[in-house]
Symmetry: C2
Subunit: 347 residues, 2 copies
């Protein structure tokens, strides 16, 4: 009987191995079941595969309703969940939403969440195919399931990265986490002085990245238009380091990522500096970036450099080299992926 | 702004209409999206359809861990969720599990839940394709997604019942709820006297129906073998009345159900009588039965009477006749479907 508390495990690197040890005890009965250790689960069909993924969002763990507007929450939970389908090079098409709602919420509150869900569905042509609301004793719980498809020959898993492949990331990093830190700071100010007004002038970009992150349909579309078939791909949600380690573990390779190549917006950089936080640390280990990390063959370098919002940040090495960051002063530091979240109080 | 509390809505008949009013505001973008107001959502494909359904299970709402063994909980949440696929005349094949777990739980506790999940997967040949565990501030939360398929021509929705069709139900009713009442009674005894030992001798069947309900694969199989294509079908989870009203609303018909035909096991009947509860009330409005309600053409009567564990309990009438119970003393009483659960405390 392993009496270790779940919280200790979840805040450590051991989670993936633990979950894998449980999953290994499950037999497979259906030929249509593909390797399942990826962003989304795959169900194999003739020429295209079904992709499906669920995410669970829990009050005071994944969001803080004291400053998170319900409409934005509805948008964000959809955006993050469908990104698991995009991160397989697939297109999400259908959505299921299940909410657990305690009695402190009104019908209007649920309708606000669903307004945000609807707005994201409109933006990205998603059909809502199941919706249910259950009573909860425990604040707000949201389960979001995304369903999509990918042509069998176009599917990209985490496990295909090869030595010398280039490592690319979409958009920029650390902004969502910087936005979260600002919201947390203003929450503390408000707790001390309830008359205070939040001061977010000039920080719009950071707040938007935290409160209303966009899914990267544009990147998947650009890769297709440029005729680039990535060798490996994953969703960046718990920082770049965790995503890179995921790809390297699955592909049985190592990697070198260059600090100077990490795409960090100037506002993100300045804000984190003001808060006395090293921007590189947040880019590597902050959360909520909602970007796509992928690897491509070196022969695709010219094609990729023509696509906006993609940065080449390093390359794949052999397994024995490990996963490393090359710092601006040319030191080599092993990547680590201890997830950290500002909300970690559990009972 | 509708400031009605969610709990008031969820405990009333209005829930279905409210959810439908939200869903109506969502546009449809994909041809593959079928009518979605059924037990499972359908995604149309060439010759067979994909069926998919999620259920959310919440601590102190759907289960009480003071007496619910974790292994049984794991089994039950799978059994109930896959029944939504069976209730479309489909076969569930794949499963996704997402748990939110507070820090009062150990790794061993999660492994016990997953042991129950695994046992159900073994019994019914289900492939676990996604598993994740998140920290929670709120006890235990489980989101279960079932995936399956059905031949396009064999799919059964709620909306196909026709006048004069026979109404059939699998298994027997009210036993799971009787089991729950026994567990609740022993919990109260234990609270008063912690030295007491629970006294469940002779009640095994009722406890099993509550703690380890089986999904009705056998019924779907028997219908196929007997070459019966039901006209409408739904999952009985919140009592027979709610299920019958679901079919009648979707099919735009009415029904007559005969009290004397309701299948109630003798132990269930006697136990409920001892507890001063009218068995018919629980059969109609109790919860957790995990049975299948369906309608068939009268011409299939002979075929259906050869199948074990199916009772013909009434027939479909025109819409204007309403949904009624014909009591043993030949009174006609309208069916109502106000859900009730012994756990209704929300904050």
């Amino acid at each position: 009987m392993d009496e270790t508390k779940v919280g200790e495990m979840l805040s450590s690197q051991g989670k993936f191995d633990w979950l894998q040890s449980i999953r290994k005890e499950f037999k497979k009965y259906h030929k249509s079941t593909d390797k399942e250790e990826d962003d989304a689960a795959t169900i194999l069909q003739d020429k295209r595969h079904t992709l499906i993924s669920t995410k669970l969002f829990l009050d005071a763990i994944h969001f803080d309703l004291t400053y998170f507007p319900l409409k934005h929450l509805g948008y964000k939970i959809v955006s993050i969940t469908i990104s698991d389908i995009l991160a397989m090079n697939g297109i999400p098409t259908h959505l299921m939403i299940h909410l657990g709602v305690s009695n402190r919420f009104s019908l209007a509150a649920v309708e606000e969440i669903m307004f945000g869900v609807k707005y994201c569905c409109q933006q990205y042509k998603l059909d809502l195919i199941q919706l249910d609301v259950e009573p909860s004793c425990q604040g707000l719980v949201a389960s979001v399931t995304a369903y999509g498809e990918v042509e069998a020959s176009k599917k990209v898993l985490r496990d295909g990265a090869k030595e010398n492949d280039l490592i690319c990331v979409s958009g920029d990093l650390a902004a969502a986490y910087a936005g979260l830190l600002l919201l947390e700071r203003e929450k503390k100010v408000f707790q001390v002085n309830p008359q205070s007004q939040p001061d977010f002038a000039g920080y719009d970009y950071l707040l938007e990245r935290q409160l209303k992150p966009e899914p990267r349909f544009n990147i998947i579309k650009s890769l297709k238009e440029s005729d680039i078939q990535p060798s490996a791909m994953t969703h960046v949600t718990h920082g770049l380091a965790a995503a890179a380690i995921h790809i390297c573990r699955a592909s049985q390779v190592g990697c070198r990522i260059f600090e100077e190549k990490l795409p960090i917006d100037i506002l993100t950089f300045q804000t984190l500096k003001e808060l006395n936080i090293v921007p590189t640390t947040i880019a590597l280990n902050g959360g909520d970036d909602n970007e796509i990390l992928f690897t491509i063959s070196q022969s695709d370098y010219e094609k990729i450099s023509g696509i906006k919002e993609i940065s080449v940040i390093g390359y794949i090495k052999d397994k024995n080299s490990g996963c490393n960051l090359i710092t601006n002063d040319e030191k080599q530091i092993p990547l680590t992926a201890q997830e950290f979240s500002p909300f970690s109080t559990t009972d």
